[in-house]
């Protein structure tokens, strides 16, 4: 059983994934449950075009990127340990500074 989820990138984060803002993906069958921690590794290996350091720092996202699951701040959901559910909508926002 694969796990369908929708990944979205905005605020400039989409520039790191071939300028595509929305990615409907199927996470492959996994021995353990898919978490945001393992998703980030999957994104690094499958979606990031180049320079992963512009998206990741260590095992988490770099400072300045917010992660939201179904429009809710991941910090309210356990951050990296959040267990991904079928059809979750996971949004990565790079914060804007311009004005």
């Amino acid at each position: 059983m694969t796990l369908p989820v929708k990944l979205e990138f905005s605020g400039g984060a989409e520039l790191l994934v071939n300028k595509v803002r929305s990615h409907q993906i199927n996470l492959p069958n996994n021995d353990s449950k898919w978490t945001l921690r393992s998703l980030l590794i999957w994104i690094r290996d499958n979606l990031l075009q180049e320079r992963p350091e512009l998206f990741l720092q260590g095992e988490t996202v770099r400072p300045g990127i917010l992660v939201l699951v179904n429009d809710t701040d991941w910090e309210l959901l356990g951050e990296l340990d959040y267990v991904i559910q079928e059809n979750d909508n996971i949004l990565f926002i790079s914060t804007l500074h311009g004005g």
């Binding site: 400072p63 300045g64 429009d71 804007l96 500074h97 004005g99």
Partner: protein, 425 residues
């Protein structure tokens, strides 16, 4: 421009300023407009005269919003006694100032570090062409204390942290807006148990990941919309109506024509500035903290040695003498459409390190009998990226008998020193 011209313009400017001040005070007497303070005056407001009723003119002026039950006389008087500090008088700050003044906010403070530049005019509707290069004022820090609400309409990370800490320390809500390309973001920090900027972003983003409007571009109406929304949130806070955008982040996607509000964390107990045992109890050095300057203005990098660079004058001589060389422009294709030098090949920065790019380049640079050694020049908008590119190419092409230099100051220098008709953007 000659020094005399500058002097003349400055004199004209100060005369005009006096004239404007005179007109402003005349107008104020006539219309009883709210006092608009610009920080060139340095006298920040201390108190707003208490008013407990509206006069006839005010009633006429604000009648449309007075008949809204949510506002009414009560709300209008609350607006009248609220003071707001707008930091950043650019694409966000201008529309915000316009609507806050129109709504009858009691006092408005305006601060900006920037000078007004012509490239800003498309999104800064309060400035006119005559005011280009007017040095506005500096220093926001302690001004937060003097006002009831602070509006962050700045354009850089360092000032955003500064205003956040200033507002937390002064206990003031911070209505924060930002915009880039076709996107905008809006939230209120440090208000009603919601997070502050540091609760969300304890660490500043790495400088190389921060894109400003002068590099990334912005469609003027986008900050216009966000600035108007900031004014709206200020009015809601001041009149105590509705559901303020605290602990929520509003995302605006102009291309998609959609808004989205996302739920944010609460204020964090371990936050370094707004938490229960804060380590930041006074303002710090924010440029150092962020590793960037508190401006979105063009910074000048020096990565290469002088021998690895060539001036625009020397490059022009090479072109005029017909010396064979290869000119690589590392800007984005959309930028080459705006302007480019002749005989340019385009290799955008982001594809420079790709293997196929290097392979193609190597083929172009293989030594020929008639040119044992090729000169390569790299150019960009203002001479920063070109240095990074030279460093990278030197590494990738080190086996080849070539010399690689960047054109110092880029196309901006070309426009200023060689060809005055060449566009600057």
């Amino acid at each position: 421009m000659a020094d005399d011209d500058v002097k003349l313009l400055k004199e004209q400017l100060s005369r005009q300023k006096e004239e404007i001040e005179k007109l402003k005070s005349l107008l104020q007497d006539k219309l009883k407009l709210p006092d608009v303070f610009t920080s060139d005056n340095d006298d920040f407001p201390t108190t707003i005269p208490a008013v407990n009723q509206l006069d006839k003119e005010s009633i006429a002026r604000y009648s449309r919003q007075l008949i809204l039950p949510e506002i009414g006389i009560r709300g209008q008087l609350l607006l009248r006694k609220t003071s707001v500090l707008i930091v950043g008088c650019g694409g966000l700050g201008c529309p915000a100032a316009l609507y806050l003044t129109a709504a009858g906010i009691g006092q408005l403070g305006l601060i900006d570090h920037d000078e007004v530049e012509i490239s800003n005019l498309h999104r800064q509707i309060l400035h006119t062409e005559a005011r280009i290069n007017v040095q506005k004022s500096t220093s926001a820090a302690y001004a937060c204390k003097q006002y009831d609400i602070v509006l962050d309409a700045t354009d850089n990370v360092a000032t955003r942290y500064l205003l956040n800490d200033g507002c937390v320390l002064a206990g003031k809500p911070l209505v924060s807006g930002s915009a880039l390309r076709f996107e905008g973001q809006l939230t209120i920090y440090n208000y009603k148990g919601g997070p502050c900027y540091r609760c969300l972003f304890p660490k500043p983003p790495p400088p190389e990941t921060v894109t400003n409007c002068s590099d990334g571009g912005v469609l003027g109406v986008v900050p216009g919309i966000i600035g108007c929304l900031q004014a709206l949130e200020v009015i809601k806070i001041a009149a105590k109506i509705g559901r303020p955008c605290t602990q929520r982040l509003l995302l605006f996607d102009a291309l998609d024509g959609s808004f989205k509000a996302i739920k944010l964390r609460q204020k964090k107990d371990n936050c370094e500035v707004c938490g229960s045992s804060p380590s930041i109890t006074e303002l710090i050095d924010y440029e150092q903290f962020c590793g960037t300057r508190a401006t979105d203005k063009d910074k000048v990098l020096t990565i290469l040695t002088p021998e690895e660079r060539i001036s625009v004058q020397d490059y022009q001589a090479i072109v005029e003498n017909g010396e064979p060389h290869l000119l690589i422009d590392v800007r984005q294709p959309v930028e080459l459409e705006i302007c480019q030098l002749s005989q340019t090949i385009n290799i955008p920065m982001n594809s420079l390190s790709k293997e196929e790019t290097i392979k193609e380049l190597k083929e172009k640079l293989i030594p020929q009998a008639d040119r044992p050694k090729t000169s390569v020049f790299v150019v960009c908008r203002q001479g920063n990226d070109s240095q990074v590119a030279v460093k990278l190419l030197k590494e990738k092409l080190k086996q080849l008998p070539i010399s690689i230099k960047d054109i110092k100051g880029g196309l901006k220098a070309w426009a200023r020193h060689i060809d005055r008709s060449f566009p600057e953007y």
